[in-house]
Amino acid sequence: MSETQSLRAWLLTDTPTSRRHAKFAAAYQGWLSFRSNTMAMIGLWILIFLVFVAIAAPLLAPHDPFEQTLANRLQGLNADGHILGTDSLGRDILSRLIYGSRITLFIVGLVALIAPITGLLVGTVAGYVGGWVDTILMRITDIFLAFPRLVLALAFVAALGAGIENAVLAISLTAWPPYARMARAETLTIRSSDYISAIQLQGAGPLRIITKHIWPLCISSLIVRVTLDMAGIILAAAGLGFLGLGAQPPSPEWGAMISEGRRFILDSWWVATMPGLAIFTVSLAFNLLGDGLRDVLDPKDAET
């Protein structure tokens, strides 16, 4: 008890004794203000639950998600041990949803790595180097921004071939330009500050300045943006899956499941409804979490 109390006191101190101490204290205070945001906490819990479901999928799923029993097709809710019913091939919908969470996390995770890193690279280089490099890089960014996003993703997938990896690539390709814009704007303000000149006078090269002094300052706004973008990424991935350009059958991807259920929508509504609810819940969770994170990490853009 007293140990946790002293840890709390250590974390809440106004007079940190070292740089690491200050960092921990700031992070803890951020966590405290984040924790008081109920909606953001709900979002966080939903996502923790999602990760848990994805990891424990084989233990949680009541049936084999790929097992087809044609005699048992299009069973309603709670029929025959199938809590959410069965689809047109007699597969258990709940089990497919549980396994589908892995695909969703895979897509979101990869895009959330590729797009911001690409954007950060392009944006900081353009902002720091300036001149014609800046002009060319930003012109390319503008061109990608001018593209209809879904159409561009569609075209890429059509060119590369349908599949989940190509869907990830296509979504990343359409998602990076806003990050590049953001990173460039931040770099421009940071570049002209005095401490950068001081480091330059100490002999630091551009590589060192960009990686050690500019990137760390761009990270927090980037994280907020990524979290808020996740919902859009999930929706885009589901859209591609729905059009038959993402994960291929029999993969239990949620968007593809909606597309399968679309044909029976008037008679067997649950087949298309359940995966839609899953997509909605997860992207809602990301939006709630993103709003909360923005309030903590980026107070100047906070709404309330």
Partner: protein, 352 residues
């Protein structure tokens, strides 16, 4: 665009007045953006794994027939030359012929674009009519139940897959309640009844005085348009709210209140007047997004618009159709963006 609007042109003895330089720069950036857009689409079209020649001649064709078609399509020329010819043709209003139905792509686009325009216009109209007042009230009565509702509407709008909501709408309002027409633009008995003038059935049937067709078309468009309207409502109301909050905390609002002005006058004559320009930018953006982003909605509702056209063309390797459709959508998007940028410069003295 932030990189282009500095005031470098006005310094020293410039040979041209600054507005000419700005205009030239704006046009230059449109041209470069459009060329880049066309180039990327062009490259995508060329690396597609589906063979456009086979799509025309079929699997059984002899080598000679294949080669003839290959040459006729100009595929034997270097890719940059092909691109150059393509741009040249586009500048003359020629997007080539569709590989599938052999009609000029321009004619196809003229046919499908009005359908998308009709849908998106009605959608954004709903978004404005409901979204702007909702945003204003949410900002003025911050924290009230209306503000909470506005927040939920926006959150749900940002999180809901549009194709799923469309399906649910069809299920409930068409399948169960039967309040609206099903997929498509008009019922099967009304197809091609009114002469096509604008290509927008609501307007055409009004011009023709055929109210029966109008009613049927309206019952078909109302659901997809409400769907798009909901998404633009979510965005517009959120932005309106945050713009209004910014104004309402300004000192001139306090002054107006101290002067004894009525609250309605403070809100509408002072605060709202100052967000109009920002609002138009948001609306233009939302409109552009609806025009380009209605792909999934059009597919759910079998709406014969440009989104469905591009998707179908993509899946059947109809390169000319894909290129043409994408270029048109891209052009509309770029023009709307530039239009809102210009509005900013004209109406907001601070931007000068």
């Amino acid at each position: 665009m932030a990189s282009t609007d500095n005031n470098g042109g006005a310094r020293g003895r410039a040979p041209f007045p600054p507005w000419i330089l700005t205009t030239v720069r704006t046009i230059g950036s449109i041209v470069v953006t459009m060329l880049g857009l066309m180039f990327i689409t062009f490259i995508i079209g060329r690396v597609m794994p589906i063979d456009p020649v086979l799509a025309i001649v079929g699997e059984q064709a002899t080598k000679a027939t294949y080669d003839a078609a290959y040459q006729q399509l100009g595929l034997d020329r270097p890719i940059l030359v092909q691109f150059f010819y393509y741009v040249w043709d586009v500048l003359h209003g020629d997007f080539g012929d569709s590989l599938l139905n052999a009609r000029p792509v321009v004619d196809d686009i003229k046919r499908v674009f009005p359908a998308t325009l009709e849908l998106a216009t009605l959608g954004v109209f709903m978004g404005i009519v409901l979204g702007v007042p909702l945003g204003v009230i949410a900002a003025v009565k911050r924290g009230s139940w209306i503000d909470q509702i506005a927040r939920v509407i926006a959150l749900v709008g940002y999180s809901m897959p549009i194709f799923w909501l469309g399906l649910m709408g069809l299920l409930v309002f068409y399948g169960i309640l039967g309040w609206v027409g099903g997929p498509g633009r008009v019922g099967i008995f009304y197809v091609d009844v009114v002469p096509s003038v604008t290509g927008m059935i609501l307007i055409d049937s009004m011009l023709d005085g055929n109210w029966e067709v109008f009613k049927d078309a309206f019952s078909h468009i109302i659901l997809p348009a409400s769907l798009l309207g909901y998404y633009s409502l979510a965005y517009i109301s959120r932005m309106t709210r945050s713009f209004m909050l910014e104004q309402m905390s300004a000192e001139y609002i306090v002054t107006a209140r101290v002067k004894g002005m009525s609250e309605a006058a403070v809100i509408w004559r002072h605060a709202f007047k100052n967000i109009r320009v920002q609002l138009i930018t948001v609306i233009a953006l939302s409109y552009a997004n609806l025009l380009e982003g209605s792909v999934l909605t059009e597919i759910i509702f079998s709406w014969p618009g440009i989104g469905q056209y591009i998707t179908t063309a993509l899946l059947s390797a109809d390169m000319n159709a894909v290129l043409g459709g994408t270029v048109v959508v891209g052009l509309v998007f770029v023009l709307l963006n530039i239009f809102s940028d210009l509005l900013y410069k004209v109406f907001d003295p601070r931007a000068k």
